[in-house]
Amino acid sequence: MTTPDPPPARELLRTEGIRKTFPGVVALDGVDFDLRAGEVHVLLGENGAGKSTLIKVLSGAYRADAGRVLREGRAVRIAGAEAAEKLGIATIHQEFNLVPQLSIAENIFLGRQPRRLGMVDRKKMEADAKVLLERVGVTAPPRTPVGKLGIAGRQMVEIAKALSLRTRVLIMDEPTAVLTSEEVDRLFAIVRRLRSEGVGIVFITHHLEEIPALGDRVTVLRDGRSVGQVPATTPQDELVRLMVGRSIEQQYPRETVKAEDAAASAAPLLRVSGLRRQGVFEDISFEVRAGEVVGIAGLVGAGRTEVVRAVFGADGYDAGRVEVAGKRLPGGDVCASHTVGLGLVPEDRKGQGLLPDASVSDNLSLVSMREASKGGLVDRGGLRKDAARIADRLGVRMAGLDQHVRTLSGGNQQKVVIGKWLLAKSRVLILDEPTRGIDVGAKVEIYQLINELTASGHAVLMISSDLPEVLGMSDRVLVMSQGRIAGELTAREATQDAVMALAVGTSAPGSTSEMEDSPRGH
């Protein structure tokens, strides 16, 4: 914490004007960043602000389109993981690169085990590993399989591995997201020790309270640009303002206020009360009325997807109840959800929503097949007619109903996933990141579809990590943080600042912080 006013500490790393584009997206748009020896430099930004892209450029996973990276003043090309390693840059990703079956020592020295006469010198390897483990405070013997360690232990093994590479620049991507509070304290102690040894640390976190506790400087990224560099002692409100202060007033076709009035009198179609799963989420209660769009905002890892999957019946829960149109659902039973008219459009469209090598028609009929069966035989002709009607209504652009959905564009694929629930006459739709990876034009079509659905009496529950989208499309916004609903905002109250403040937990004092989020990557 005692940050001495840095007298010109040696500069370890500098980026100038880094730019990186993907088809249709500018991920980084001129990022300037620098790191000195013996400092913890926090990288802050919303989901999608460009933090992950930046560290992938620094660790050699991506090649920047423009701009340059300087290592101790020298322009370098980081062409791959190996090049980064040679430059003394190590990255600890959210998903660890460890082989659970191998021992700690083998993991640390994977691919460069000390050898004698062509054989791996186990004794030397384990002795070296022991020294490294002591530096990071791990007491487990080097022979222990990594799979036996907890998350925190594995993280320490990753750090030990980085140390064995004589790392000067250590990049840590949300290392605290998966740790308990004591584990966080231990991690901070190690990080401080590394800092005192002169290592430069790039630290990514969403938890603002960690910044003054550990950091020296903060760089804020927004929409792929570095928008500010401030000391770690900057007040949280100011940091939040820097993070969200974007000016893009995108057009969302929803007339929230009108819909809000209309929905106020309607009966709730979906009612969730006291839902809890040990260690993942708790005390989740909310309602969604006919004609209403309720948004769920929050940071990645806040437990949003886990909650909606439990509501839908894809996973079980420990306590609480879910009612659709007054009927209680048994829990953990997808079939029952579908019978009462509850549908889920999952986050991972290709992995969970579609049969990629089946036709548009078969995909659209997937949910309705059971109802369309008599004596075990499916009325495929009837389903095909219904599928044609739905595809037409949603404006799915395709060569024909027999086209494989794999070859459709992302937006059209999403229409098919939504369409299968409409074909099944679902009245309550849960949309998990409905516009992720979809181009702008198709996004607007999805928004219009949501409007049409609510106008015809459907209820929509929508998770989105895109703040303007949540604000633009929701009649009410639930903000989740650390497995709980941190607050509920009406469309009028919901601003980017208000949502972010709840999401990062600044206005939730004394939250029992024994949350242990399921470790999910981006």
Partner: protein
Amino acid sequence: MATDTQQPGHRLDKRPGGGGPPQAIRRFLLDNGALSALVVLVAVLALVNGNFLTTTNLLNVGEQAAVTAILAFGVTFAIVAGGIDLSVGSVAAFSGIMLGWFTTTQGMPAFLGVILAILTGTACGLLNGVLISYGKLPPFIATLAMLSAARGLLLVVSQGNPILMPDSLSWMGENIGGWLPTQVIVMLVMGLIAALILNRTYNGRAMYAIGGNEEAAHLSGIRVRRQKLVIYTLVGAFAAVAGIVLTSRLASAQPTGAEGFELDAIAAVVIGGASLAGGVGKASGTLIGALILAVLRNGLNLLDVSAFWQQVVIGVVIALAVLLDTLRRRT
């Protein structure tokens, strides 16, 4: 035409625009590679050997294909659903032995013996299904275990000796009207049943869904575990029918019968265009696959190619079939 479809699908029934007839024929041949291969194979053999294209020989081919085809129809269910069944050969032989044991050793009436034999195979399939859906064993392992266990059980029952069939069952090994083999009829009927299951029944459509994307199927309200139980039970039932056909062809149940047939069955399914990744496959393709294997063996026999070389040729054909299919998908 749509602007944002990157690439038209493979099986479009209405192709807007499209080329003229030669293009259409080419497309048809590419889309039905196995059928084209069968036609070419038959044409070549007919030209090379005058004995090939005779009614007697072709019916002979049909007879040779019958057991493999019936086993393969069952295996198609498992493969379409993204699984595999290695136990069908053993289960077929076990069912055959039980047929002999019930009818000859126990002296039961023929129809009862047939029913009990089918129940035997079905029970083996059900057990596979339980191990896979509720025991969460990978299908490869569960059915590998059954491959060994069913063979062992039949050896226990038969004491390692063949069991002769009673006269009341001999009609199954004969020809209807003196020329049409009963086995070919059974093969075609089982093929139709398999096609009906795959195309028209809820269980069949669920196979494609589970094989195409198990998680998506689950999230769409398909009870995946229950369906897997049904799938492997069906595979067992088909294997039992194959076992009865084999037994009637040999007029006795052999303890070593159908050994290694599971591999022929899998080969037939794969040559017929199914994907081991699941979600793709047809009963008609499987029939063609089984016929290709039978025609090859028959033709190579007619051409006096040694049995040793025949195995090499069949290996090459399996590799070629899948290779061509992969190439076609890439274009």
